[in-house]
């Protein structure tokens, strides 16, 4: 009986871990999905925006000894600005270019951010000061750490806000229209450029929130921290159906839980392999993902 109880609580703890990392993946996956939905671009640089956000928090808190709250706000604002700037400088000139050029540009931006960070700040990981702390929530044998609780809460709130924004506001309507048909949306008097920039801003702000939550869970910042996180979030977006907002949320939680399960059975070295195996299986069996729309190919 006691054995069963410990097994149960281990399982529940692993599920909570999975939900915690899953909600971060979901936040990042939303950015991928929204951008892909609107300009059909796999924004490779999205993961590295997370890295920049983490460095902003680190710099604000260590160099200026700021209180965590303004540091976090600065990180989110910084990510938003960076996302819009990248879109304006690198992606707007290529709007009419072949998709492959756009993709290579995105890879270039991603490498530029990573390597500039390495050059300016150094390759080593910087330890992160603690941003939030509090007593864990104990429910019987199950213990939910304070960070896990906050992470879940913040990400669910952000997702709810995003859903409201996309479904109920005028800007959200414009976003949906542009992703449906860019030409027709323009004819209806929607400013396509502004809508695309707004989408990048929202996606990058979510990445900023994700970066703060990520550094709460793993308190360090390094130049390449964003690439693996970004790739996994992208897998989550594909799993959920790229271009779909609820899909990205579901996909994020699914990837987080899958990783936690693989670690729970003691195969954590294979974690990355499993995530990419999921990606391949999804792409081969159902490339549109769980919630994705079927794209018709036009001649």
């Amino acid at each position: 009986m006691k054995n069963n109880m410990t097994l149960f609580s281990t399982m529940v703890n692993q599920i909570i871990n999975g939900l915690q990392s899953g909600s971060i993946y979901a936040l990042v996956a939303l950015g991928y999905s929204m951008v892909y939905g609107i300009i059909m671009l796999l924004n490779f640089a999205h993961g590295d925006i997370i890295m920049v956000g983490a460095y902003v928090v680190w710099y604000a808190m260590t160099a200026f000894a700021l209180h965590p709250l303004p540091a976090v706000l600065m990180a989110v604002a910084g990510c938003t600005l960076l996302g819009v700037a990248i879109e304006k400088v690198a992606y707007t000139p290529l709007r009419a270019a072949p998709r492959i050029s756009l993709l290579i540009t995105a890879i270039g931006i991603s490498f530029l951010l990573e390597n500039s960070a390495q050059l300016v700040i150094g390759a080593g990981a910087k330890p992160m000061p603690s941003i939030i702390s509090g007593a864990p929530l104990v429910l019987g044998t199950v213990k939910i750490s304070f960070t896990a609780g906050i992470t879940l809460l913040v990400s669910v709130a952000s997702m709810a806000a995003l859903t409201f924004l996309v479904q109920k506001t005028k800007m959200g309507k414009a976003m949906r229209a542009v992703s449906e048909d860019m030409g027709a949306a323009q004819l209806m008097g929607i400013s396509v450029n502004r809508t695309i920039s707004f989408t990048f801003a929202i996606g990058s702000a979510l990445a900023g929130i994700g970066s703060v939550l990520y550094t709460c869970a793993y308190p360090q910042a390094s130049p390449t921290m964003g690439s693996m996180l970004g790739l996994k979030a992208f897998v989550a977006a594909v799993l959920g159906g790229i271009g779909s907002i609820p899909g990205a949320m579901i996909g994020g939680f699914a990837i987080g839980l899958a990783e936690a399960m693989v670690s729970a059975v003691g195969l954590s070295v294979w974690k990355d392999g499993v995530v990419f195996a999921i990606l391949i299986v999804v792409l081969v069996l159902k490339p549109t993902g769980i919630m994705g729309r079927v794209m018709q190919e036009k001649v």
């Binding site: 050029s101 490498f111 050059l119 897998v235």
Partner: protein, 357 residues
């Protein structure tokens, strides 16, 4: 009025090219032999050769086939590990002993098993290319990019962790595979470079190559003209993987030790930068950019720190201002140049363009 334009007959063209390449090989080999080119520089020249193979092989998939695989380092890793393991085993095996028993020096024995190891590395990589290509090539564009990226990462994770599953050391994981016979020298590297460039060149001039090019231009139109697009896409992809595997085995024999960390996503991008900068679809462009981008950080050591920053900037700037790369799809042809010069001398003025051939 049709004007006679003198053309150099094909056997002569081939002879001129072959003679020049042979002269280049022998000259550089002689200079390395008498130490005019230092050992350090000879190493760089070998590395350039390996990178040329990697770049022209990725160019088959990216430039000619029009796909964007991001797992090229994975094929290189497979080829490197396969040939390294084979060469290590063969060196100590009955075959190796047979050669040594017949009065072969150890180095000569290793040089004999080197082609076998290279062929094996290429074939295993081609097999992986087939296994990965069949599902991946059903997808297009970014999906293909991301699925090959996934496969590349899986290959790296498997090489890193396979020993614990097998129960005996095969790849030595993160501890790196050591003691590989150092079989890669200047002469064999560049003979392989020339053979591969020639093979790709003739393939692209053949019926099969034209079919591959037509897929790049417009897949739907190609299919409606009766080209088996799936077959030719797989063919191009497998050929690309095979050559990457050969480059990997040269790399194994060049370094003498392998660790999975050197075959990450970063390596795939490095190769892609070389292809994109040179021009997708131009072999001359691939060769030039591989040479420059390999030699530059070695010559300007201070530049090494900036290398990746500059690479990424170059990638972005080239994409924004000249998306087809520096050379576009233009390919250098010595005989075309000679013909032009010849005709100008013969007719005293500029002749019409001979057209691509």
């Amino acid at each position: 009025m049709k004007r006679e334009v003198k053309r150099i007959p094909m056997p002569v063209r081939y002879f001129i090219n072959a003679a020049l390449l042979l002269a280049f090989l022998l000259a550089v080999n002689y200079l390395i032999g008498n130490k005019t080119i230092s050992g350090f520089n000879a190493k760089i020249i070998m590395l350039i050769g390996i990178n040329i193979i990697l770049t022209v092989s990725l160019n088959v998939a990216t430039g000619y086939l029009g796909q964007l695989p991001l797992g090229h380092a994975g094929f290189m890793a497979v080829g490197a590990y396969a040939s390294a393991i084979l060469m290590k085993r063969m060196g100590g095996s009955a075959l190796g002993m047979f050669f040594i028993g017949r009065g072969f020096e150890k180095a000569a024995m290793e040089a004999t098993i080197f082609p076998l190891g290279m062929l094996f590395g290429g074939l295993v990589a081609a097999l992986f290319g087939l296994i990965i290509g069949i599902p991946a090539l059903r997808l297009k564009g970014d999906y293909l990019a991301i699925i090959t990226l996934g496969f590349g990462e899986i290959i790296r994770v498997v090489i890193l962790n396979i020993d614990s599953v097998l129960g005996f050391p095969l790849t030595y994981g993160a501890a790196s595979l050591k003691g590989i016979p150092k079989t890669t020298g200047f002469l064999n590297t560049y003979i392989v470079v020339i053979l591969i460039c020639f093979a790709i060149h003739t393939m692209m001039k053949s019926r099969h190559g034209r079919a591959i090019l037509s897929i790049r231009e417009n897949e739907i139109a190609a299919e409606s003209c009766g080209i088996k697009t799936t077959y030719y896409k797989t063919l191009g992809f497998v050929a690309s993987a095979f050559f990457a595997g050969v480059a990997g085995s040269l790399y194994a024999g060049y370094l003498g030790l392998l660790s999975p960390g050197s075959f990450g996503f970063m390596k795939s991008i490095e190769i892609l930068v070389m292809v994109v900068l040179g021009g997708m679809g131009s072999m001359a462009g691939s060769v030039i950019s591989a040479t420059v981008l390999t030699a530059l950080p070695q010559i300007l050591l201070a530049f090494d720190k900036w290398r990746m920053v500059v690479y990424s900037l170059v990638l972005i700037i080239v994409m924004i201002f000249k998306p087809s790369g520096l050379m576009g799809t233009y390919d250098f042809s010595l005989s075309r140049l000679l013909e032009k010069a010849w005709n100008r001398l013969a007719f005293g003025k500029k002749t019409e363009k001979g057209g691509a051939r």
